[in-house]
Amino acid sequence: MITATHYVALSLILFCLGLIGVMVRRNFITVLMSLELMFNAVNLNLIAFSFRLGDLGGQVLAIFVITVAAAEAAIGLGLIIALVRLKDTIALDEADVMRS
C-alpha cells in the first residue's frame, strides 16, 4: 500500500535535486528548469496530503502553485532575453553588472 510517506520521500528527493540544480548550474535556463522541479515537488506533497486528508484544498493550492510557476517562467525567461541582449551570454556568473 502506498502511503503519504512514500510521496513525501519522493517529493523530498525531487526538491533536493532541484535545489542542487539551482546551486551548481551556471546556465540560467537550466537553473529555471531546476526551479520548476522544485515547484513539482511541492505539488506532489500537496496532492499526497490532499488524498491523505480527503480535503480538496490541497488540489486547489496546487493549481495556484502551477499559476505562480507559469508567472515565474514568464518573468525568468524575460530576464534571460534581457541578459542575452545586455551581455550576450546566459552564464549566471557573468550577470554582475550591479557589482560595485
Partner: protein, 190 residues
C-alpha cells in the same frame, strides 16, 4: 507472479517514482539545454501519472496542458532565441535520438493509461471519496475542484489573477528593447 499481481499498485508507484527521479537527474546533469528541457518534459509527465494515482485527475490534465504544453514551449523558444554558445545547430534537432523519442512517447502513453486504470479501479485510501464529491453527491474530480475553487477559495483565485497580470506586464517590460537608449536616440534625432 501472484506477488506481482497483488502488489501491482505498489510496484507501479516505485517504477514511476524511479523514472521521475531519473528525469530530474537528467535535467541537472545534461550539458545541452535542449536535453535538459526534454528530461524536464519527461519528469512533468511522470508527475502527472503520480497525480492520477492520488485521484487528482484535473491536476494531471492541467500538468500536461500547462507545464508540458505551455511552459515547455516557452523554454524551448528561449533556448532557441538565446543562441547558446555551446549549442551547435546540428545538436538542436536530435536527429540521432528519434527512435528514443518514439519509445519515450509510447512509454509515457502506456504509463498514463495504467495510472488512469489503477486510479479508477482501486478507489482506496482514507479520503478518496471526498475528492470527487459535492454535497455528498458523487461527481467528477473536476467538478468537485471547481466547486471548492469558486466558493471557499474565491478571493485567492482573484489574487492569483492579479499575479498573472503583473507577470505579464513584467515579461513585456523585460522583453522590450532598451527604452532609455531608444528615447535618447529619438531626442538626438529631433
Amino acid at each position: 507472479m501472484d506477488y506481482l499481481v497483488a502488489n501491482f499498485g505498489t510496484i507501479f508507484f516505485y517504477l514511476v517514482a524511479a523514472l521521475t527521479v531519473a528525469g530530474a537527474v537528467g535535467v541537472i546533469v545534461a550539458r545541452n539545454p535542449v536535453h535538459s528541457a526534454l528530461c524536464l518534459l519527461w519528469t512533468f509527465f511522470m508527475v502527472a501519472v503520480l497525480f492520477i494515482l492520488r485521484h487528482a485527475e484535473l491536476l494531471a490534465a492541467v500538468q500536461v496542458l500547462v507545464y508540458a504544453g505551455g511552459i515547455m514551449v516557452l523554454y524551448l523558444f528561449v533556448i532557441m532565441l538565446a543562441r547558446v554558445k555551446n549549442l551547435r545547430p546540428e545538436e538542436v534537432f536530435l536527429s540521432g535520438l528519434a527512435p528514443l523519442a518514439v519509445v519515450g512517447g509510447v512509454l509515457i502513453g502506456a504509463l498514463l493509461s495504467i495510472g488512469i486504470l489503477l486510479g479508477t479501479m482501486a478507489v482506496g485510501g482514507s479520503g478518496s471519496a471526498a475528492l470527487a464529491n459535492v454535497g455528498n453527491q458523487p461527481v467528477g474530480n473536476t467538478e468537485a475542484v471547481g466547486m471548492v475553487l469558486y466558493t471557499r477559495y474565491l478571493v485567492p483565485f482573484e489574487v492569483v489573477s492579479v499575479v498573472l497580470l503583473v507577470a505579464m506586464i513584467g515579461a513585456i517590460v523585460f522583453g522590450r528593447r532598451d527604452p532609455v537608449a531608444d528615447s535618447g536616440a529619438a531626442e538626438v534625432e529631433q
